[in-house]
């Protein structure tokens, strides 16, 4: 199926998000859509599928002008959209989620769970996945939920499948099986629009690419005719040089050490330590327990046994406020859930962990607050119209920087970053890496949990690899270490 979007414009109030955008999807191709955070990619797709209506422009499907009044109409026309934000229902079962609003009914008009079950199992088989259909979907990891979203799209007999950052939460093996499916379906004539901030993936899977910047289409070309450098330059508007900045490591004394940490189900017997100025990477498959360890250290979740020491002294951390007192900061995996109060301003978010330092005579000092926030916004180059702008209106990358600003402002000596660059565009990623280097130069210790292998390899000084709740090994990250080495450990293979 061919889809052409011609001269699309869209504004939210005074904010012109799309200006005269053209987008052409051919039959049976994988078409990558790239651009910085906030370039308008998701908005463009929302328009294509009728979730938003454009202020101007036309949409043609196979040359025929169409107008979808909602996602259901688009789906009936053969266009299926896997959203960037997980659009599922945590309390409802996998089965219910799979068939939501397209339930199969029997002749009495009742939902036919039996047939739906069979159909679901069939799809799972073709995708080589297996989930309990009766389990509430919210209990599955984000990666599994993502796979289920993908199954959902497959089930609709779609001719066009839009994937908005499908791999943000997937591990490499899952990404591999996803790509297999994509290639397989492409052969059967299905077209894909593939949105991602991971250029390596796009080079692997896409046939053509459209690059957007500031609401414009700046380029459309065949992947074979372009290169990573060219794409990045078009996206960002300038050359950003090496993707990963080089690190100068000056490791100091041990600041945090964890010994024999256990939780009820998710991890056991975890021991490791981090030094001043060091970046300790945490790698592993999804669900291997990395996030849980960090949450236990920071006092978000309870641990069953084990000790955490700061500067050699055992400390009791039962809730985050105690962790913060010890100089720990935590950038959570899920920015929108736990990192930010989206409705609140940048300033209100940044000051939260530092409230007690901003009072004079028990009263919050407005001027100190404004200066404090301004300084952080400038140092981290958060792109915002001012400190009173609501954080929810910033682009993903800038939201992430705001979370970092919170913890840097709180004077954290130890920073735990859980998937710090998930969903962040290349330009912003690069800035976050620079920031990490700057922090370690000042003696901050960083623990970085990441599922992005190239990132872990490039940024970490040492890498801890998790497998099913156990710490397989902590390896030095040097030139000899490869992705394959890490994967071996992460899948339960032998220690090096």
């Amino acid at each position: 199926m061919k889809v052409d979007m011609i001269g699309i414009s869209k504004s939210f109030g005074k904010n012109h998000v799309l200006r005269d955008v053209d987008f052409h999807l051919k039959d049976a191709e994988v078409h990558a859509l790239m651009g910085e955070n906030g370039a308008g990619k998701s908005t463009l797709m929302n328009i294509m599928t009728g979730l938003l209506s454009a202020n101007d422009g036309d949409i043609l499907v196979d040359g025929q002008q169409v107008h979808f009044n909602g996602p259901k109409e688009a789906e009936e026309a053969g266009i299926s959209f896997i959203h960037q934000e997980m659009n599922n229902f945590g309390e409802m079962s996998v089965l219910e989620n799979l068939f939501l609003n397209k339930e199969i009914k029997n002749k009495f008009g009742l939902v036919d769970d039996y047939t739906m079950r069979q159909q679901a199992n069939r799809i799972f088989k073709t995708l080589h996945i297996n989930y309990d259909l009766d389990r509430p979907i919210g209990e599955l990891s984000i990666g599994s939920q993502q796979m289920i979203e993908i199954s959902k799209a497959m089930m609709t007999d779609a001719k066009v499948i839009i994937m908005d950052e499908p791999t943000a939460a997937l591990t490499s093996s899952e990404i591999r099986s996803l790509f297999e499916i994509v290639r397989h379906l492409k052969k059967q004539g299905v077209s894909f629009i593939y949105i991602s901030h991971r250029i390596e993936e796009i080079m692997q899977i896409a046939d053509r690419i459209t690059v957007m910047r500031d609401g414009h289409t700046v380029d459309e070309s065949f992947i074979s005719d372009t290169s990573v450098e060219q794409i990045v330059t078009k996206m960002v508007g300038r050359d950003i040089g090496d993707f990963f900045p080089t690190r100068q490591v000056h490791v100091g004394k041990t600041v945090l050490s964890v010994s024999n940490l256990n939780s009820k189900n998710t991890f056991h017997d975890i021991s490791f330590s981090v030094q001043e100025g060091e970046i300790l990477g945490f790698s592993g498959l999804m669900g291997s327990g990395r996030t849980e360890i960090m949450r236990a250290i920071f006092g978000v979740d309870a641990k069953t046994s084990g000790d955490v020491s700061i500067d050699g002294k055992i400390v009791q951390i039962k809730e985050p406020s105690q962790a913060i007192k010890q100089g720990i900061g935590f950038v959570t995996e899920n920015r929108k859930d736990e990192g930010l109060i989206l409705d609140f301003s940048v300033a209100e978010n940044i000051i939260l962990p530092s409230l007690n330092d901003l009072v004079k005579h028990h009263i919050l000092d407005e001027k100190t607050k404004v200066d404090f926030v301004d300084l952080l916004i400038q140092r981290l180059t958060v792109k915002t119209d001012g400190q009173n702008i609501s954080v929810g209106s910033l682009s993903g990358g800038n939201q992430q920087k705001t979370v970092l600003a919170k913890w840097i402002g709180a004077g954290s000596k130890i920073l735990i970053l859980d998937e710090p660059t998930r969903g962040v565009d290349v330009g912003a990623k690069r800035e976050i890496y620079n920031l990490m280097n700057e922090l370690t130069d000042r003696g901050v210790a960083i623990i970085m949990v990441s599922s992005d292998l190239p990132e872990v390899l490039a940024m970490s000084d040492r890498i801890a690899v998790m497998y099913e709740g156990t710490l397989m090994a902590i390896v030095d990250s040097d030139d000899k270490l490869t992705e394959a080495d890490i994967m071996t450990l992460a899948t339960g293979g032998k220690k090096l």
Binding site: E75, N88, M92, E468
Partner: protein, 328 residues
């Protein structure tokens, strides 16, 4: 091998989870059983068939309202106007009957009016974008005021009402030895159970309450579905009103005052989360039975009415704390 291991592990934990979630689903049932045992120990006549039928009949009005309220609360909403809708529709129905409209027709119209009142709530909430709490608080005042205006504050009674067999049957009749209100409640339960658990409407209801934005993106007509849910609440309230006027042989303008709280309590005791998205109508049934047993049992035991309130409050807290999983 690794793969198999992972799967085995996960299926194990799934089974465990299933077991626990089923047990949790049984929480309200257990609470009810404990309550029944205690009450029976203190007054054995509690278990008389007669008293049980009596209890079921007393529960029927709160039950009907609470069934409708379950849908509303599943969407994360609330309907404080149920008692006032009951009063307004009963008054109008009684007025129709006393002025000569055939009983069943009048009741049908009364129930339709209930649906319309519910629809008004729904539209204020969906089209107007008002929070359900405040919207239904306002309509509660309006419907109650309207009832007083229509009735001039007087109860509506009439010889027709005492003489009409159909009218008396609804609230006071028996069918194979079972009180008609109980039968009405059970029929309503079955219909709503099917609607909620076996039809797409129910899936939409859960989806709405679980994640409204995602429901919208999934193509669910959020506003329409929600409006219908408030219509259901209106219909159930007016149906309860029909039972009530028949039981009392008259319509009171202040009928139903405070019924919203009993209905909400039944829903929450039954394990439905006030945050929406989680719960079951069967739980509501149990919740209504718990409240009914409390009221009936304490009367039987002869606990002074002052202490009855204290006991009721404490039982609610205990039941809710036992069923800690819910929040918001």
């Amino acid at each position: 091998m690794t793969r198999a291991k992972v799967e085995q592990k996960s299926s194990e934990s799934v089974n465990q989870k299933k077991f626990f979630s089923q047990l949790a689903g049984l929480g309200p049932v257990l609470a009810l059983v404990v309550l029944v045992i205690i009450t029976t120990m203190m007054n054995s006549s509690f278990l008389d068939v007669n008293n049980l039928l009596n209890l079921l009949r007393q529960v029927s009005i709160n039950g009907l309202i609470a069934f409708g309220m379950t849908f509303v609360i599943l969407t994360g909403g609330i309907d404080l106007s149920v008692g006032a809708m009951l009063a307004l529709t009963s008054a109008l129905t009684a007025m129709m009957i006393t002025s000569g409209v055939p009983t069943l027709l009048a009741m049908l119209i009364g129930i339709l009016i209930g649906g319309v009142l519910g629809g008004i709530n729904g539209l204020i909430i969906t089209k107007g974008g008002a929070a359900p709490f405040i919207a239904s608080l306002a309509t509660m005042t309006i419907f109650r005021g309207a009832t007083y205006v229509f009735t001039d504050g007087n109860p509506i009674t009439g010889k027709v009402m005492n003489d009409s067999f159909a009218f008396q049957f609804i609230g006071r009749g028996y069918f194979f030895g079972i009180p008609v209100p109980v039968i009405i409640m059970i029929v309503a339960f079955i219909i709503l159970y099917i609607l909620l658990h076996k039809m797409t409407f129910g899936r939409k209801t859960y989806a709405l309450g679980g994640n409204e934005k995602a429901a919208f993106v999934s193509g669910i007509k959020v506003k329409m579905t929600k409006t219908w849910i408030y219509v259901i609440s209106g219909i159930m309230s007016s149906a309860a009103g029909m039972v009530l006027i028949s039981r009392l042989s008259s319509a009171q303008p202040d009928a139903g005052t405070g019924f919203e709280m009993d209905a909400i309590a039944a829903v929450v005791l039954g394990g439905t989360s006030l945050a929406g998205g989680r719960g079951r109508i069967f739980g509501t049934f149990i919740g209504a039975l718990i409240i009914g047993t409390l009221n009936n049992g304490m009367n039987l035991i002869g606990i002074s009415s002052f202490y009855q309130q204290i006991v009721k409050g404490i039982v609610i807290i205990i039941a809710v704390l036992l069923d800690r999983r819910k929040s918001a």
